[in-house]
């Protein structure tokens, strides 16, 4: 576990199970504990200097005034900076090392993106300013839209959805609107059993009934089973391509033709677009709608769980139904913002509105920056390197960890393993927690559901060969320990800020908010604050 690396450097940690003497502070060197902000702060502290207003509230407001300030303690700036900096050190992040979560595409987040998003012309612009004062912002939306349309070979794109699942919803609502316009009430959506959970959830949310399509032993959609389900009540299919087993669906075009012939539409989950960007255009495969997770393929930061952004590219058939607001370049060459006020200007079939304002503008500036940095050639190289890295992991580990679809040919952006063949009582969880001690973030575990004990490794193009070799060495070492029945793995991780956490306790007796009271003089009354 603390073997020297290629350069001869040996980590100074102890070995698993070794007990260390307690410190009086509870901290261990740079391993720092941190209390809740509420336990650190007090009601009489504030990290913002504010003027004391001498005015009485307007008389109309008097009956609405609150009796006491919110019971939230404050902290001064140095205390605040230290609190969050100490907390940040309890997180793993891409900036620290590989984050090979399958289907999550944890790639490097270029800092130029952050710098551009913070230009006052983007960051400090109100969504309802008069159009002529925000022409640059609309141009960002239009330029990004143009890239997304070109890269996917589609007719149009709805930019406003807030995240991937929101984009899925947008795509399905476009399908609903198109069916409504045809006067049809088809209510079934077919979803492969390997699909991400958002697919069936979204279909249900959009008012469809979900029917499952089985997978073939080779990890692909069973085309014949799918065709057998097509009929006058099928609104469409939702297919992830490349799919959640990390494989390309070679029959996509045949599926699309069959679905179209039966009067349905093809929704493609674009979560894994990173594997094919610049190499394949989904529009050439017969897709009618596909969301693009800007936080995956186009590197906007995941931020510990959002915000995402999920524009949806649309075929000619669905384009008229895209929601408002909508940015378009008119025949006059000028960019137009279409809202409820002027929807008559060529967008009167819009199915409605999904968000306040214009969508994730801050993500658009970052994604456009990323795209311009890479260009058409660089994006193609991204897909190739991502696929190359995944296949390198697959072929470097398949002798130790069963890869259920390894014989199906190359994988795309992610390599899928299973825990079959580990010693009795050992499973994917042990490998995952062991990786934490090795200094890596674990892969996606127990997904897709069609493979028992699934381990889905997506290295992305961000990893160097040397970085992958270190990860592979750790994964192989853990596989060997689990095959050999190394019981210490059951208690991993040992070296993380926390050992395994009791999730059953958390779910049985949920504690979702801090129960204490602020220290000091209690909460001040408004008369003390107003200072009249």
């Amino acid at each position: 576990m603390n073997a020297p690396n290629a350069a001869g450097w040996r980590p100074a940690m102890g070995v698993a199970g070794e007990t260390r003497s307690a410190t009086s502070s509870g901290d261990y060197g740079l391993m720092l504990e941190e209390a809740l902000s509420f336990e650190l702060g007090s009601a009489d502290k504030c990290g913002v200097d504010l003027e004391k207003t001498r005015r009485e509230p307007a008389s109309g407001l008097t009956r609405f005034l609150r009796k006491a300030a919110p019971a939230l303690p404050g902290l001064t700036e140095p205390e605040t900076v230290r609190h969050y900096t100490r907390l940040s050190r309890q997180n793993y992040a891409i900036d620290l090392g590989p984050f090979p979560l399958g289907s999550c595409t944890m790639k490097h987040n270029p800092r130029l993106n952050e710098k551009m998003a913070r230009l006052p012309g983007f960051a400090d612009v109100h969504p309802l300013q008069p159009q002529k004062t925000v022409e640059g912002a609309l141009e960002v939306i239009e330029q990004l839209a143009d890239w997304l349309i070109t890269l996917t070979g589609m007719a149009s794109v709805a930019m406003s959805p807030k995240a991937g699942a929101h984009g899925e919803l947008c795509g399905l609502l476009c399908i609903r609107a198109a069916l409504d316009a045809r006067g049809e009430t088809r209510d079934i959506v077919l979803v492969p059993e390997s699909a991400h959970g958002t697919n069936p959830a979204t279909a249900a949310f959009a008012g469809f009934k979900v029917e499952s399509i089985p997978a073939t032993p080779a990890g692909r959609v069973d085309v014949e089973a799918l065709k057998a389900k097509l009929g006058p009540n099928v609104a469409g299919v939702m297919i992830t391509n490349p799919n959640t087993c990390g494989l390309f669906e070679p029959d996509m075009h045949e599926i699309a033709d069959a679905v179209h012939a039966a009067g349905g539409y093809v929704y493609c989950d674009g979560a894994n677009f990173n594997a094919i960007v610049g190499k394949v255009r989904p529009g050439d495969l017969g897709v009618d709608a596909m969301h693009i997770n800007l936080h995956k393929t186009f590197s906007t930061p995941h931020g510990g769980g959002g915000p995402g952004a999920g524009p949806v590219v649309l075929s000619e058939a669905l384009a008229p139904f895209a929601p408002l607001p909508f940015v378009t370049r008119g025949a006059d060459g000028c960019i137009h913002l279409v809202e409820e006020e002027n929807r008559g200007e060529g967008h009167d079939q819009a199915f409605g509105r999904m968000v306040a304002f214009h969508g994730q503008m801050g993500m658009f500036t970052r994604a456009l920056t990323y795209i311009l940095s890479h260009g058409a050639d660089g994006l193609r190289q991204v897909a190739e390197d991502a696929v190359l890295n995944a296949n390198y992991v697959l072929r470097s580990c398949e002798d130790l960890l069963p890869a259920p679809f390894a014989d199906s040919g190359p994988c795309m952006h992610e390599a899928l393993f299973s825990d079959a063949g580990l010693a009795e009582g050992f499973s994917t969880l042990d490998i995952a927690k062991g990786l934490i001690d090795e200094g890596f973030h674990p892969m996606t575990v127990y997904f897709p559901l069609v493979v028992k004990g699934a381990m889905l490794v997506e290295p992305t193009e961000t990893e160097s060969k040397a970085g992958l070799d270190r990860f592979i060495a750790s994964l192989r070492s853990l596989a060997e320990r689990a095959k050999g029945g190394d019981e210490s793995l059951h208690s991993a991780p040992y070296y993380a800020p926390r050992r395994r956490l009791d999730e059953t306790l958390a779910a049985r007796k949920p504690i979702l908010v801090w129960q204490g009271n602020p220290t000091e003089s209690g909460t001040p009354s408004l008369s003390e604050i107003g200072g009249s």
């Binding site: 939230l72 230009l119 699942a165 929101h166 390309f248 190499k279 769980g305 940095s373 296949n391 926390r498």
Partner: protein
Amino acid sequence: MRYLPLTPADRASMLETIGVGGIDDLFVDVPAQARLAGPIDGLPAHASEMAVERHMTSLAAKNLSAGSVPFFLGAGAYRHHVPASVDHLIQRGEFLTAYTPYQPEIAQGTLQVLFEFQTQVARLFGTDIANASMYDGSTACWEAILMAARVTRKGRAVLSGGLHPHYGEVVRTMAKFTKDDIVSLAPELAADPDDNAVIASIDDATSCVVVQYPDVLGRIPDLAAIADAAHAKGALLVAVVTEPVALGLIEAPGVLGADIVVGEGQSLGVGLQFGGPYLGLFGCREKFVRQMPGRLCGQTVDAEGRRGFVLTLSTREQHIRREKATSNICTNSGLCALAFSIHLTLLGGEGLARLAAVNHARAQATFERLARIPGVTLLNAAYFNEATVILPRDAREVVRDLADRQVLGGVSLGRLFPVADGLHNALLVAATETTTDDDIEAFATALETVLVGVPG
């Protein structure tokens, strides 16, 4: 390419390990006719950091940024001063480049932040609990209506005419597909909000009433009276807060009887950003916890008995429940929630109350000055930092004329409610702690100029 670490030699050696001759051998599953032979035609090639920066900066320069001119827009997005430490801290790579905390042992930073955030939102809203955030206020509002339907097993929601029209549009759009029954009251130019009309619209089939507080015209509804009326008919009160700073000064909706409180958290820590990303706030009574949408972080202990935090109650969510999930939502707005939480930690409850008092005072100064302009009248009987003024002509034109004079002077109700009659002369004006006396004077002077010659 500066972002791609593999060298040509690496690629060659890796292909050899894999056992294929070239990269295209890894794309054999893609039908040959769909494989592109080279970079897509018509798109530019990669560019240096300097070149991209030049391009983006030129686009940014085409926008008139709020901080560069007298600025009075609100209507659901507010310009507040964000302390420098907030933006510094959210750019810590360990926050910025982490994923959803599915491995809690190495995500305690994000998880503890979410626990603190949930506590802050609950205390701000006066609710028992809150979730770890949603996409934005408008989507949180729709989720609240769905949740109210699950809780009450009824499906008729009444929307106040004071609800932000975008929120109303989102709700009506979604309800079209889910077949929920939505009753939308019309917005009216009155000094007081439409509490009586809301109360009169509640019947036994009503699952919830949705009331914005303060409402979109800046008026302040009597939530306690509406809550009583709703509860008497077995309906829930959903309060919508688009300006959370207001809750430093006016009573928390949960204290007044709201069962679910949702809102837009942008005002704290998150800049205007042309509308997103923002963050949806969602709080409610503890007894509804199993019906809540979105992520929840909960306290627990680790194997050594130390306090720690995990995502919990995830059986409500899509990755487990699939088509039976409470929502299809898969993410939250983590980084925005972090910014919100840091800003509120700096302020504390007392600081928030003081910030709110300053906001209200700046608004008082603004409306006193505007009301001195001939033909301009203040509509509201009460307001926090935003109110409606009635102009002698169409406010949409006035907004454009003001912009010509380098003043961003509010949001016209004609833009917000294009189909409603009788609102077109109304202008929604917001002031915050960033509004100076000079801004107010510049606005008033410009408004006087553009209104000259129009009969009052």
